[in-house]
């Protein structure tokens, strides 16, 4: 069996990478959903909101079927790999991040985008400024995305396979130890997982609350 630090490192790598990619996909999608007036916006918004509620085990099942050796993406050989697990976690975290981004931007004064355009902002300047104005909910989106990714076990088990030395992460280790009746190790992994989640969220919360306090003071 792997050492704790290896499993912990793997968990952090998978979830932080997945969160980073999900932010790159989710924030622009949420921004488009908040600002666009085009047809299809409502359908996509509904899809994003639905995606926020999909059980991770269902995401894992779909991704596994796609990545299975005989599946449509089998040639990529991602099943039972960390990259496959990252893909699944991106699909779990991205809708959450997009949904919170959309809600955060929609909570800004509705005429703010037009005011920025009237001040001479181009599209990039406009979006960047709106992100700064919505930094508190955007940080909440990052925290929620990371929290969702690191805590999920369904897709990690199905897509990663909990292979020792390769794809075993903290959550799948806890499940395995509970299955074996080894509650001491299960509790140890749980405590470490909590500590990891706490540390990263404490960091993000500190930034978020400082940002909120600065604007209000």
């Amino acid at each position: 069996m792997d050492g704790v630090h290896e499993v912990l490192g793997r968990s952090a790598l998978v979830s932080l990478t997945a969160t980073a990619i999900a932010l790159m996909l989710g924030v622009p999608t949420g921004t488009w959903l908040a600002l666009a007036h085009r047809r299809g916006r409502r359908v996509l918004a509904t899809a994003v909101n639905t995606g926020m509620a999909v059980p991770t085990v269902v995401v894992g099942l779909v991704v596994a079927l796609l990545l299975w050796r005989s599946g449509p993406l089998g040639d990529l050989e991602l099943i039972y790999t960390l990259r496959g697990m990252i893909l699944a976690q991106v699909l779990i975290a991205a809708p959450l991040i997009a949904g919170i981004t959309m809600a955060g931007l929609q909570a800004l004064p509705p005429d703010l985008p037009d005011q920025l355009r009237a001040l001479g902002a181009n599209t990039t300047q406009l979006v960047w400024r709106l992100w700064i104005e919505a930094r508190v909910p955007l940080l909440a989106a990052a925290m929620a995305g990371f929290g969702h990714a690191i805590s999920e076990v369904g897709s990690a088990t199905i897509v990663g396979g909990n292979i020792h030395g390769q794809t075993q992460v903290m959550t799948t280790s806890i499940v395995e130890n509970v299955g074996k009746g080894d509650f001491d190790d299960a509790l140890l992994y749980a405590a470490i997982l909590l500590a990891l989640a706490f540390t990263i969220n404490a960091l993000l919360t500190s930034v978020q609350q400082r940002a909120a306090a600065w604007a209000q003071s």
Binding site: A118, G120, E133, A215
Partner: protein
């Protein structure tokens, strides 16, 4: 000097309803136009079209011959826009004012100097390092205006920039606005529903009602000869009454001469009179009789409401003893402070709908 801003055959619809229809409007360089209209008249829509935030459904607005809608960013950046809500960002005041300059690629030292100068013109330079979201309403409005002025716009659009301010702050704001514009050739389009703003800022007033320009002219002529009863009410005339002009050119209120003659053809007309024009006389001194309904003390005057079938409003100096409620008095209207307007069927219809006591106020 040629027209800087031109609107031609502009039509704009929203939700299947036409909200703006302006056949032609031109502004010369440095000219200040106030668009006066009630809520929902299409004032903000007009500014949004001029700012290039929306494209008109038909027709076009041009700034120096270039169509604003869909124009390059360079054209839009020649326009400054101070909206009704200050729309300040969650950063310091100075950074708020600097931001449009930064977007225009100005160097840090240049934009800092320009931003401080703009804040100084509006007497808020001392707030430069404050958080913008911690400002009072009046301070925020001034900073918003400074931000619009800092880019030295060729065309400045003002959407009720002093709304929500108390009377004293409102006056001070316009004093500073006038001073800030005094040494500049900035063309200004200012929209408001308050006549006093229009009268103090504008070179010309366009009265916008239901999306169309009902009257266009210099402030003195618009004030002296409002086009109809609706315009007269917008200009804050205290008394807007249905009257008759008889064969002897006398203006009759309720069939009784009120002391004014008119060159209009005999028939129905509208009388617009300031409360100061309504003179209260002892009984027998004038033919028009009225009953005192209410007397309240206003700023520097007694406000007397009289019932003479149509309600009349009169101001008396505070030093004068006001009549008692219920007392019968005679009334005469001073022609120097009143205007007789040609009757228009549409106005007559509206007046009918608003003929309840007090509706003219």
């Amino acid at each position: 000097m040629g027209a800087v801003l031109k609107l031609e055959e502009v039509r704009h619809s929203r939700g299947g309803r036409e909200v703006l229809a302006i056949d032609a409007l031109e502004l010369d360089a440095g000219e200040r136009l106030t668009v006066l209209g009630p809520n929902g008249a299409g004032k903000t829509t007009l500014l949004r079209l001029l700012a290039g935030l929306e494209a008109p459904s038909a027709g076009h607005a041009e700034l120096e011959g270039v169509r604003v809608a869909g124009a390059d960013l360079d054209v839009r950046r020649r326009i400054g826009y101070a909206t009704q809500r200050p729309g300040l960002l969650s950063t310091s005041v100075i950074r708020n004012v600097e931001l449009p300059l930064r977007w225009r690629g100005l160097a840090q030292s240049v934009r800092r100097e320009a931003a401080l100068a703009a804040l100084d013109r509006l007497h808020v330079a001392h707030l430069a390092e404050r958080k913008a979201l911690s400002l009072s309403g009046g301070e925020a409005q001034r900073v918003s205006l400074a931000r619009a002025l800092a880019v030295e716009p060729q065309l400045l659009l003002l959407d009720e920039p002093a709304s929500g301010l108390d009377a004293q702050a409102h006056r001070a704001f316009f004093d500073d606005l006038e001073a800030a514009l005094a040494d500049r050739a900035t063309t200004v389009v200012h929209v408001t529903h308050r006549a006093e703003e229009a009268l103090r800022l504008a070179d010309r007033i366009a009265v916008l009602i239901d999306g169309t320009i009902r009257q266009l002219g210099d402030p003195a002529s618009v004030l002296r000869e409002p086009a109809d009863a609706t315009v007269a009410r917008l200009l804050a005339y205290d008394n807007v009454l249905s009257v008759e002009v008889d064969q002897q050119a006398q203006v009759l209120i309720n069939g009784v001469p009120c002391g004014i003659t008119s060159s209009l053809d005999p028939g129905p007309a509208t009388l617009a009179a300031w409360a100061a024009a309504v003179r209260i006389k002892p009984q027998g001194a004038a033919p028009l009789r009225a009953t005192v309904e209410r007397v309240v003390q206003g700023p520097g005057h007694w406000h007397v409401t009289l019932a003479a079938i149509q309600p009349l409003h009169a101001y008396l100096p505070l030093g004068q003893t006001p009549p008692r409620v219920g007392e019968s008095v005679d009334v005469r209207v001073d022609p120097a402070h009143a205007s007789v307007i040609r009757h228009s069927p549409r106005v007559a219809h509206r007046r009918g709908a608003q003929s309840a006591p007090g509706a003219s106020r």
